[in-house]
């Protein structure tokens, strides 16, 4: 087992190095750099920038160094925990990311819980009533969530909530509560704003889970031990809940690790439409304006989490399923 772990750890490091190089390249891919984007902004505001200024700024920001020099400077800092400096926000990246992390996690975890709470019962129910009308109906329902483009759904819900309930669910807090201290009022306000992103993001994930749950359960239900249990007279619900469901849950536990990066990046598109102060929109803006350090460090953060997540998943899987032990 320990050999297995060593092996995986080594591989993790290699993956991260490759990804760091890739990320850096990806950010640099669009022509120009942060400066061109900054200059474009200035020009659109009616300000002129001279060529001299541009050259000077480029030098100051270290953007005229050869690419590999820039890369090493960045990755060197990253390893020591310094994620660099954001040009557009004029603040260290660390500050920006930590600021938004809390709320991102709140939304992500809520969506995850929502997905589970909705998907499991439906999965179980439809497995039991396979090919019946209610099976079709619920499957249909859960699939609508995944079929609707998130951005459209988010906008429509926002509009409905504004027009018919008079609430602006954009952002996470109403203006009155933005800097208020935490209390019942603020929490209620947060919940009011939270439901739309949670629903939008959550429904996208339900269908997949329902399908997997259903399939796994069906597999288990066909097994002899279930028939045996039933014939012994154990009530139906006990039969189902005691073993089959638990086994059907296995894949979820093992895939828990992959949820980690999603939790952190939050659902970017929904967050953009609803203007949530989460990490997703931050990353998107950084990519668009080629804010090198913010984008790069953020991507690295996500990758590190993904890799760790996969690692955890693999360990969990290996622990849980004795069949999967490979050198």
């Amino acid at each position: 087992m320990s050999k297995f772990i060593m092996h995986r750890l080594l591989f993790m490091v290699v993956t991260l190095v490759v990804i760091s190089i890739l990320s850096f390249i990806i950010i640099q891919l669009p022509p120009g750099d942060y400066l061109t984007s900054y200059i474009t902004q200035l020009r659109s505001m009616g300000t002129d920038v001279s060529d001299e200024q541009i050259e000077y700024l480029r030098e100051q920001y270290g953007l005229d160094d050869p690419i590999y020099v820039q890369y090493f400077k960045w990755i060197g800092n990253f390893i020591t925990g310094d994620m660099g400096f954001s040009f557009s926000w004029n603040r260290p990246v660390n500050e920006l990311v930590w600021e938004r992390l809390g709320l991102t996690l709140v939304i992500s975890i809520s969506s995850l819980l929502f997905t589970w709470i909705v998907a499991f019962p439906i999965g179980i129910y439809t497995a039991l009533r396979q090919n019946s009308l209610s099976d079709y109906f619920f499957t249909f329902l859960s699939f609508i969530g995944v079929a609707t483009p998130n951005f459209l759904l988010a906008l429509v819900l926002m509009y409905v909530s504004f027009k018919y309930f008079g609430i602006n669910v954009g952002g996470l807090f109403s203006p009155e509560y933005a800097d208020a201290a935490w209390g019942i009022g603020k929490i209620t306000d947060l919940l009011q704003h939270l439901w739309i992103p949670v629903v939008v993001v959550g429904t996208a994930g339900t269908a997949g889970l329902v399908r997997i749950m259903r399939a796994n359960l069906l597999d288990e239900l066909g097994k002899p031990y279930v028939t045996t249990a039933k014939s012994k007279g154990i009530p139906n619900y006990k039969v189902i809940l005691k073993y089959p469901v638990r086994i059907a849950l296995n894949p979820f536990i093992s895939t828990l690790g992959w949820q980690l990066p999603k939790l952190i990046s939050g659902s970017t598109i929904t967050a953009v439409v609803l203007s949530l102060p989460t990490t997703g929109p931050l990353l998107l803006d950084a990519l668009k304006s080629q804010d090198m350090y913010l984008a790069g460090s953020f991507i690295m953060l996500l990758s590190v989490l993904t890799v760790i997540g996969t690692f955890i998943s693999d360990i969990l899987l290996a622990l849980v399923d004795p069949r999967i032990r490979y050198v």
Partner: protein, 662 residues
């Protein structure tokens, strides 16, 4: 048809104007073009916001008379409607860290534009004189001016900026491009604490207009708080080099400019400023500004401005969310995020949101201007694009009325891009110059210049047999400069040009990519708003964004380098322009040092006539309405005003005299 649409538009504008007048319209007072001083107005007693009373009592702040400039120099601002009440918070929203308040409301200037946009009204400055054939500029500051931390504002701050920032070898690249004339820098001398003298190597009659009023001088600060900034400047504090590295900056200059804030976005809460509100708190979702106790203006009853105590900007990442805030009445004002095509929606929600929609006017000369690159690298295209008949043909092929209807809901003016109406050298006929919709004329002109042969699909071919394809590149919606409107107009333009047989390849790119190609002179056609409120730079050969003749401009720079003794590195040679363009370049060099205003106007007239004849810039619609949402609880906001980034956005409505009854 064309004339009648313009008539309808003017009718509409008149109706709106009448409606607002009937409503007891609050307009920008004429006195703002020439405000009285407190001494002139006979004001001897001054009041302050109750919020500051405590601080004066326990000695934190000097009494109000000592915080204001002396009465002989103190500006009196007549409120738009009535004298306001102190207190409250004004809320607005923005998309991203750069807001519609930052560089404008929060950063006053030496001079401000007045509502006609033709005059520079002294603001921080008290007055100025241009003498010695406009070679000497003397600026008088207001005695008793103070920074937001109480430290006096004097010529020391200007000299500091000039000598230690603009002219400092290490820091210098930020600001002085506007100041060097033919490579020679002017001389700054402080006569005393409140008098500054600037001497130029040659006549510079437009210096106040072009440099010291807001919109041109974003990067050209002219003053900085010396008492605060010197601790970050290596010449005053050598230890800053270490500090800079400790703080994570590459070198002390980066650290210094970070503290000084040379961009339009305010992020440094420690920096003293001259604005009515000072930045107190900032995070990625919100900026909070609070009252500046040393603000240098009072109202007509001697109350120190501003009325409003706090100014908050919430930062959203999406325009639609920001709009919901506006529609719901969660903000006190909004304009930048609005667009004329959505005007009905703003009106529909006025009851719900408790606000009124004002119809401001964006003075832009061409909301979307099209400029063919006459220095295109491919010879065949270059031949065509530099033929003025081609440009004129493409201009009349556009159905501006339709563009107006589709993209602006009829709320703009179909017109050719030209000088500002109202300027002394302006000619009415320029607005109609090749601006009519005449596809027959377009086809005729195209045939005349040799583009009469068509290919298999019916598109015109170049003399070399290849189909002429115009690459029309625009920024994608969502990127900087990209709007849904631009996309619509581009689709329309493509349709119109293809209808007269010219194939168009419409591509959406990131703006940065477009910018790069334009800078390198590789683009086919520039697409940019043409803003010509005060000078002609936007029509110039290598004007920002449009850049239709960069190689000619380069040739001119090379010529100057060659003729003035070939100092320094040889600049690129560019492309030699034809005689008429050389003439124009000469005129442009000359007009800025004209000995008198009349002479200058005559030259400008010639310059503009040339531009119109050549039709380099093809305008679409001009002066669209700029809707603005103003909460019913926000007062002293004028109901009509020019509104655009170039005129300082809201600055022209003087938010310092707004007050809220929330």
């Amino acid at each position: 048809m064309f004339k009648s649409k313009k008539f309808v538009f003017s009718l509409v504008v008149m109706i709106i104007a009448l409606m607002t007048v009937a409503a007891g319209a609050a307009e920008i007072p004429d006195s703002w073009s020439n405000p009285d001083t407190a001494a002139e107005a006979g004001i001897t007693e001054f009041n302050q916001s109750p919020v500051l009373d405590q601080r004066v009592e326990n000695g934190e702040l000097p009494p109000v008379e000592e915080r204001l400039p002396v009465p002989e120099d103190l500006q009196v601002i007549e409120p738009v409607e009535e004298v306001g009440q102190y207190g409250g918070k004004v809320v607005s929203t923005a998309i991203g860290p750069s807001t519609e308040s930052d560089g404008t409301v929060m950063r006053p200037w030496m001079f401000q534009l007045d509502k006609t946009m033709a005059n520079a009204v002294p603001d921080i400055a008290k007055s100025f004189e241009l003498t010695n054939e406009a070679k000497t500029l003397t600026i008088h500051l207001r005695e008793g001016l103070k920074w937001s931390d109480g430290h006096p504002f004097t010529t020391e701050d200007i000299i500091f900026w000039w000598e230690d920032v603009a002219m400092n070898e290490e820091v210098n690249h930020w600001t002085q491009w506007n100041w060097k004339m033919d490579g020679v820098a002017p001389e700054f001398t402080a006569i005393d604490d409140y008098t500054l003298k600037v001497e130029f190597p040659r006549s510079n009659p437009t210096i106040v207009d072009t440099t010291l009023t807001w919109w041109r001088s974003q990067q050209s600060f002219f003053f900085s708080p010396k008492h605060y900034l010197k601790q970050f400047h290596a010449d005053y504090n050598p230890e800053v080099k270490e500090t800079a590295e400790e703080e994570g900056f590459g070198n002390w200059v980066q650290y210094f400019t970070n503290k000084m804030e040379v961009g339009p976005v305010q992020t440094n809460t420690e920096l003293p400023t001259m604005g009515a509100w000072v930045l107190e708190d900032i995070n990625s979702s919100r900026k909070l500004f609070v009252r500046n106790p040393y603000y240098y203006k009072v109202d007509s009853e001697g109350n120190q401005l501003p009325y409003v105590d706090e100014w908050e900007i919430t930062i959203k990442s999406d325009a639609e969310v920001a709009k919901v805030d506006a529609l719901q009445g969660n903000v006190d004002f909004a304009a930048r995020i609005l667009s004329p095509s959505e005007f009905p929606m703003y009106k529909q929600n006025e009851e719900v949101g408790n606000y009124t929609t004002y119809a401001y006017n964006n003075p832009v000369q061409a909301q979307i201007g099209l400029t063919f690159n006459v220095n295109h690298p491919e010879e065949a295209k270059r031949e065509v694009y530099s033929n003025k008949k081609f440009r004129q043909a493409m201009s009349v092929a556009l159905n501006r009325n339709e563009i107006n209807e589709f993209a602006y809901r009829g709320l703009a003016e179909p017109a050719q891009a030209t000088a500002k109406p109202g300027a002394p050298y302006f000619k009415e006929e320029w607005l109609d110059h090749y601006a009519q919709y005449d596809t027959e004329l377009a086809k005729e002109l195209l045939n005349e210049i040799g583009l009469d042969e068509k290919d298999g699909e019916g598109f015109r071919v170049l003399p070399n047999g290849e189909t002429l394809i115009i690459d029309l590149e625009i920024p994608a919606p969502g990127s900087v400069g990209g709007t849904a409107q631009l996309g619509q107009v581009a689709e329309l333009v493509k349709a119109y040009w293809e209808a007269v047989g010219v194939k168009v390849n419409l591509k959406t790119l990131s703006r940065e990519l477009y910018q790069q190609r334009a800078d390198a002179g590789e683009h086919d056609i520039g697409v940019w708003p043409v803003n010509v409120t005060r000078d002609i730079n936007a029509f110039g050969f290598d004007s920002d964004g449009t850049r239709y003749a960069t190689k000619w401009a380069q040739w001119d720079t090379w010529r100057m380098w060659d003729e003035t003794g070939r100092e320094g590195e040889e600049p690129p040679k560019g492309m030699e322009p034809p005689e008429h363009a050389k003439e124009q370049l000469r005129r442009i060099h000359e007009y800025s040092s004209a000995p008198s205003q009349e002479a200058m106007n005559k030259m400008l007239g010639d310059i503009w006539q040339y531009y119109m004849d050549q039709t380099y810039v093809i305008g679409t619609v001009a002066r669209p309405m700029a809707p603005a949402i103003v909460a019913d609880t926000l007062h002293n906001v004028p109901e009509t005003a020019p509104y655009s980034n170039a005129t300082g956005a809201w600055q022209i409505t003087k938010p310092e005299q707004w007050f809220t009854t929330k």
